[in-house]
């Protein structure tokens, strides 16, 4: 069970949140110019990292805002929570 500190609402049970996958994957600026390989990379390939992962969460049963989180996937420890557009503090 994770306790997540929403940057807007404070600490809440993780059942209030939805997971949004790996963060900082930038949507291609010129989608029409992408090769199939580049599309595959953008759509499907993931770091799936064992260690500190930067990921997106949505407070779907609260303020419904998106934010980012740095969490260690090997032990589920949350290292930092930061707003969209900000950089992680560690």
């Amino acid at each position: 069970m994770l306790i997540i500190k929403c940057p807007y609402c404070g600490e809440r049970d993780h059942s209030e949140f939805s997971y949004g996958g790996e963060a900082h994957i930038i949507r291609p600026k010129q989608p029409t110019e992408l090769s199939d390989d580049q599309w595959a990379e953008y759509l499907f390939m993931r770091k799936n990292i064992k260690g500190i992962q930067y990921e997106r969460w949505n407070h779907s049963h609260g303020c419904r805002r998106w934010f980012n989180m740095a969490r260690d996937t090997s032990n589920d420890k949350i290292h930092s929570v930061y707003k969209i557009g900000e950089k992680p503090s560690n």
Binding site: D37, K47, N48
Partner: protein
């Protein structure tokens, strides 16, 4: 040479109080070089080594395992075996495995306790009924046994299911695959280990892979906690940790590793002699030979390698179980655990070559890999030995994520992934 297991061996060994049984496999230390190294000593990895030695005449093979063999998802699943998949490619793959299961105990001279007790997939709404009937027909066209049961037939086949029309998600029918069933999961790993070992395969436990050494675009060997092992062929069957190994080789895979939970109840007398699965309410249950109910829960939404899931997932599963089987309401749960499953975007596995020569991946089995163990090993061994896929696993190549030719079993496979 391995001594054969038989009733006579049992009687003979009982005379010496079962203290002189031959070891089922050697505790091998790594040699300097192998023709092929399999990373991961679960059922799939051990089966791969077994078929490499048996059918492809490779004798200098090692299986390296981080912990002990069969200690990962092989020992953590709910042991369900079935092949009632919708798409042709999946039907071919999973029924290939099911056919091997049917003679596996005889072939390995090891009782894997394969029990063809049937698997039911319940329908709870009109859409389920249409989709499951469609799948019944698709299965039959692919030569896979499958039949449709109406509510009365469901009640007759498995009397403890609550078939009342007044429950929240009433049972409206079910598919039944009679050739499907369960097997003893540990025995599968041990049987393949014993078979592989008898053909000279080195099974190296407590040996974690730390790096993959490349020379240009080809494999040179692997760094392990027991030193460097030289080899030109590496087959990775590391389940939840596949991406970790891929990262060592500089590859990215389309996988996400998530915790999947299961639980067993205290042992009770036989009440359910089949496997019942329900996609819509996500509850599936069977009963082990020890009498425990074996219940599979769902995955958590987020990536985690912790081998533990959240309580709410179990709560949701048990709510559904109790509505479908009110008879279980006083039952206590005995154990609960999690495993890390590697899920592909299309919920189908990858059994494939990679862009690196001599590096092969067998991964992405997600929440349902156990059923495929013998077929997966058989086809992966073929792919490694011939450096090209067998016709049955050609569709499960890694390039499908580039070409778009996905095997989209997410909704089609009859269970929620």
């Amino acid at each position: 040479m391995k001594k054969k297991y038989s009733i006579f061996a049992l009687i003979k060994n009982s005379l010496s109080y079962h203290e002189n049984w031959q070891r089922a496999w050697r505790d091998a230390e790594p040699k300097k070089e192998y023709d092929a190294v399999i990373v991961g000593g679960g059922g799939h990895g051990l089966a791969t080594a077994y078929y490499l030695a048996k059918e492809h005449n490779l004798k200098n093979i090692a299986v390296v395992e981080k912990g002990w063999i069969g200690g990962g998802n092989t020992g953590r699943n709910t042991t369900i075996i079935r092949s009632n998949y919708l798409w042709d490619a999946s039907a071919g793959l999973y029924d290939h495995a099911l056919k091997i299961w049917e003679n596996l105990s005889q072939e390995l001279n090891y009782n894997v306790m394969f029990s063809q007790r049937g698997v039911m997939n319940l329908a709870h709404n009109q859409h389920d009924v249409r989709e499951l009937k469609r799948r019944t027909h698709a299965n039959r066209l692919n030569g896979i046994d499958c039949e449709w049961l109406n509510v009365e037939q469901v009640k007759k086949f498995c009397p403890i299911i609550n078939c009342s029309p007044d429950i929240r998600y009433p049972v409206m029918g079910s598919t039944l695959q009679k050739r499907a069933g369960t097997a003893r999961h540990d025995a599968v790993a041990w049987g393949y280990a014993r078979g592989a070992d008898s053909m000279g395969v080195d099974i190296i436990q407590n040996c974690e892979v730390k790096g993959i050494k490349r020379k240009g675009d080809a494999i040179e060997g692997i760094e392990t906690t027991k030193g460097f092992i030289k080899t030109q062929k590496v087959g990775v069957v590391a389940a939840g940790h596949s991406s970790v190994i891929a990262n060592m080789a500089g590859l990215k895979l389309p996988l996400e590793s998530k915790p999947l939970q299961a639980l067993v109840s205290e042992p009770i007398k036989p009440v359910i002699d089949t496997v019942v699965m329900s996609n819509a309410v996500h509850a599936y249950v069977s009963q082990s030979d020890k009498g425990e109910l074996v219940i599979g829960a769902g995955t958590d939404a987020y990536i985690s390698y912790t081998q533990k899931g959240t309580h709410e997932i179990i709560e949701g599963t048990l709510k559904a179980i109790l509505e479908l089987y009110p008879i279980f309401s006083r039952l206590r749960m005995l154990r609960q655990w999690g495993g890390v499953v590697d899920i592909c975007p299309d919920a189908s596995p990858i059994i494939s070559k990679t862009s690196i020569k001599g590096l092969y991946f067998n991964c992405g089995w997600g929440t349902g890999g156990f059923k495929a163990t013998p077929g997966s090993g058989h086809l992966f061994a073929y792919t490694i030995a011939k450096d090209e896929p067998h016709s049955l696993n050609a569709a499960f190549n890694i390039n499908r994520f580039v070409s778009g030719d996905l095997v989209d079993e997410h909704g089609a496979a009859a269970v929620a992934h």
